[in-house]
Point group: C2
Chain length 608, copies 2
């Protein structure tokens, strides 16, 4: 059975040595006044969270997968131990961690809150999604709810007494929410009657809490077609009296649960809304805007699922590779045994280092973005907030897609280290692969993330956000000219930043003639910019490590390991960009095939 130990050392390195989070947070009154900015507090929180993850949550991971969730007459039973672990989690205050103190939250920075989330994902992704979805609902309500709604609902979500969900998808529409049919009829008393069917609702029904707060996209009768007629509603499982006590059972029922490839212990519900009472959140017909607040957090959270699963898969593959002896290295490494531990074989090292480099790169991106979220939400300086918001907006689709793609790769390679045993359930590695696969699909498929990045975030603002990122890279390169050890990385970074500019221009020009040119390039483009971002972060990490080594602080070899992993990243993973540059330049032409001949598709796109 797999085990898990929180990567506290790496988190501390990133927060303190690389991001110097305490200094930044100390300059933000919200954190300084709440006294949640200090590195010491962060360390205490992470240690405690690590214990909870390893001791309470992780032991339920395999049994949860085997048991799954069941539903009878709309009542869902989660796997043994799940609700008890959740109640402990809530009782210990973890659900309130980065919540607003005004509503009972602890006001801890996102950079700490997200490190805690990573741990819960590593320990048990299916379990982590129950509080995870709640957090998303909290965020949207906090941003768009009326004061009255917030006063009632936010304390319950933060205390963990209730949980929340996001209800977007319908059977005929996932990506294309403009097609949604769930309707809302104004009751004239400040409430609406919501009717329709939502599918794929994660944590949509369960036995953790007395109430569940659904945030539901629906179309008010008479509203425009498409996304401009969509509104967001709060639909509780039980209606809530003004004093916060529970009222009647509302008209939302779990019709069934999906049988899935993975994350089996999370209840993925089909929810039928049958005249359920709902409250409008935000303005009528502006539901997509509110939804995106929830989605952006969820997208980073989904990216972190790639990180968390990559980490736990790597930890276990590493242990197995040290333990399993098979074949003899030249020269022998453990000559007393009939064979050497497989960790000495170069290809096993390649697989392990790939998972390690992707995982540590993903953690750096996550915590960097999280600190930028802290700045975006609370920094006193408007320009600082705007810069942070731009970086978050630009890199969120990369965090979601690049991190889940690499996370899936990491779980597959970690499984591969086990040979045949990796395919057997009892070792637990195949579960990581099955669980990781969903991250590439939900919260907007990775193809949709790529369109968001290239179309909306890059071409949509004439490349301004991208230039901010490029500016940071250039500044880093300039600042670091004197550091001899970084020279090859600085050269790579400089060239790559230039190449991103060129590729963006090439695509942008072609896309003006034919929008398919952007769509054809988007996925490769996202991977390209993802690699450039990781390269930047690996160079940053290397610089921080070099400083510590120069100061004589590398007693345990942690910083040396960081430098060697960086080298692996630059020499073995980053070169994927060479292929991507070529496939981006190839454009849409190789995809613009004759539909009738190639696909047997009667409506030929080419002849249209």
């Amino acid at each position: 059975m797999p085990s898990y130990k929180a990567p506290l050392r790496d988190m501390k390195f990133l927060m303190q040595d690389v991001l110097q989070a305490e200094q930044t947070l100390a300059g933000i009154p919200f954190y300084a006044e709440n006294e949640t900015h200090s590195a010491d507090l962060a360390e205490q929180i992470l240690e405690e969270a690590g214990r909870f993850a390893s001791n309470v949550v992780q032991p339920l991971n395999m049994s949860g997968d085997a048991e799954g969730c069941t539903v009878q007459d709309g009542v869902v039973t989660t796997p043994q131990g799940f609700k008890e672990a959740y109640r402990q989690f809530a009782a210990a205050g973890w659900t309130a961690l980065d919540g607003d103190p005004k509503y009972g939250g602890q006001g801890v920075p996102h950079v700490v809150g997200n490190a805690v989330s990573e741990m819960m994902i590593s320990a048990n992704i299916a379990w982590s999604m129950y509080p995870g979805l709640s957090h998303g609902a909290y965020t949207a309500l906090h941003a768009y709810g009326s004061d009255e709604t917030k006063d009632i609902y936010l304390p319950k979500l933060l205390s963990g007494e209730w949980t929340g969900t996001m209800c977007l998808t319908e059977p005929h529409c996932g990506t294309d929410l403009g097609l949604l049919r769930t309707k809302a009829v104004d009751n004239g008393d400040g409430t609406f009657s919501i009717t329709g069917t939502k599918i794929f609702i994660s944590a949509g029904e369960h036995d953790f809490t007395d109430n569940i707060v659904h945030l539901v996209l629906a179309r008010i009768e008479g509203a425009p077609q498409g996304t401009k007629g969509i509104s967001l509603f709060l639909v509780p499982k039980y209606t809530v009296n003004p004093d916060g006590s529970l009222g009647e059972r509302n008209g939302v029922m779990c019709a069934s649960l999906e049988h899935k490839m993975g994350i089996k212990a999370n209840a993925t519900a089909v929810l039928n809304f049958d005249g359920a009472q709902g409250i409008l959140v935000g303005q009528a017909n502006k539901g997509m805007q509110a939804m995106f607040v929830m989605m952006n957090g969820a997208r980073l959270g989904t990216g972190m699922q790639g990180l968390g699963l990559g980490e736990v898969a790597y930890q276990n593959a590493l242990a197995y590779a040290k333990d399993r002896i098979q074949m003899r290295h030249e020269p022998r490494v453990v000559a007393s045994e009939p064979a050497d531990p497989i960790i000495v074989h170069p290809d096993v090292r390649r697989m392990l280092l790939t998972a390690k480099a992707y995982t540590e790169g993903a953690r750096a991106l996550t915590l960097w973005l999280s600190l930028n979220l802290d700045i975006e939400h609370h920094h006193p300086d408007e320009q600082a907030r705007q810069d942070a918001a731009d970086i978050v907006a630009l890199l969120t689709p990369i965090a979601k897609a690049f991190m889940t793609d690499n996370g899936f790769t990491s779980t597959v390679l970690s499984q591969q280290v086990y040979g045949g045993h990796g395919y057997i359930k009892e070792w637990g590695m195949e579960q990581f692969v099955r669980d990781a696969r969903i991250g590439q699909i939900y919260e907007g498929t990775n193809g949709i993330q790529a369109l968001d990045l290239l179309g909306r975030k890059v071409l949509g603002d004439g490349g301004k956000k991208l230039q901010k990122l490029a500016g940071m890279l250039e500044q880093f390169v300039e600042e670091s000219q004197d550091i001899e050890e970084l020279a090859p990385y600085l050269e790579t970074l400089g060239k790559a930043a230039q190449q991103v500019g060129t590729l963006t221009m090439v695509i942008g020009q072609k896309a003006m003639q034919d929008p398919d040119e952007a769509n054809a390039a988007a996925v490769d483009y996202l991977r390209y910019v993802g690699h450039v971002t990781y390269a930047y972060l690996w160079a940053l990490m290397s610089r921080a490590a070099l400083r510590q080594i120069a100061s004589g602080n590398d007693r345990d070899g942690f910083y040396k390991a960081k430098l060697q992993t960086a080298r692996f990243y630059f020499e073995k993973l980053f070169p994927e960009t060479r292929a991507l540059a070529a496939t981006i330049k190839a454009g849409n032409a190789p995809l613009a095939v004759d539909d009738v001949a190639v696909f047997g598709f009667e409506q030929s796109l080419v002849n249209a």
Copy 2:
């Protein structure tokens, strides 16, 4: 629920237009005399097999996955319908298809037999493995069994009355068979007593047949340690009397079945041999040699699992992509609907074309190698046999690893086309992913295939086999100079062939100093040569398609589609070689990290 239709048109194209198999086979007396060489017969067989695959085998695929196999007191029950389908399969003569007529086989060429195998894999991989393993056992016995053994066992295996297995792996050794502990004691009466535990035995126990013929690797008492002391034994589940009737229950028992990620309907058995009666197959201590005969067939067969699953996943993703409407293309394609079928979106096309190009490339490689097997086994000219054997030896690890890696990628991309629905069991796509994953692991992991290719097949003979392949490429390029449409591909092929030579030399030189240099490069090298091989096959297919178009034979657009898929392959998939060239050149240095610092592994390889 997924469906499957055999790709008869593509198989016919490859056999007739590209490989001109009939001409080759007509020149081989074995096939000419058995009258099994004709294209007409091949077509009839494939049509019939396609019907059987779609109508009998495929409908059991999802139910088989859901039910799995069960074991009680050593008795295994396979999923409903499985044994009946097998009995129909055997009764119709499919188990004897490419068997030796001397033992009741039909003497059909491998090029036809393997096309039939592909269909059964697509229809139901778990089911296909029962006759598949039998075929492997037949091949080894045919090559190494005594006449007496062959006379008794081969007719039963070909008629399908009995099935066979390969028993190699033990709990402590998979890759490293030299460590195996199963022992054989000479009974002095021409039999041996076999004792030990074998794991991961596919089709190791079941309810299809009265007897199962296990081919077991074991060490005769007193034999040398390592692979030089391993012998191959035939151990039937029931001992067999000289007249072929069943004797006593032999001392081999199914102790348990593995719970696996996929191929759940195939019984993966732990077999305990407790003084079981066995017969030596081939010479004592020469078991590895016989095992490789079995393994080489099994490796191509495993590669074909990537092909078969890629094909069926693609077929279903294609149908879904035509049916599912979501988002609007500019300009609109089906303006009467609120959205366009997703097949019109470039990234969906990219995913479909990737699966299609990999699958059709894999089929070309499979049938080309199969025809070479026919030549190797039966051609009257020794040089022709040797040339064919060299190509088979060189390309078998590529067929195994490249085809299963690409097959896994194809199933993942096909699943991705379905969005969230791809993750739900009822759509069947996630099963293809789970089933495809094992191909990268068993029959020698893909990492081991890469070592076999680079170490044994390329560097091991000073590049002679590789030069034969290069010679074929050069000849093709020279022959095709006048075909204008092929010009860009010929240039790519020419450069790539040169680059393979350079990379091989670079690795070979470095490996003389340090064997880790070959091991570090092997996986990337295999993918590189794999791409060069596919590029050659896509160019061959393009030339054949151009000829048919020039002759006015492209009424249905099949040949046009082939040309467009070739273009996609060269412009969107082949450029991976640019990254591979860079990572190959980076060598072992980025992997030669400090083990203590990076991996927390006490025995430091670097300091050793």
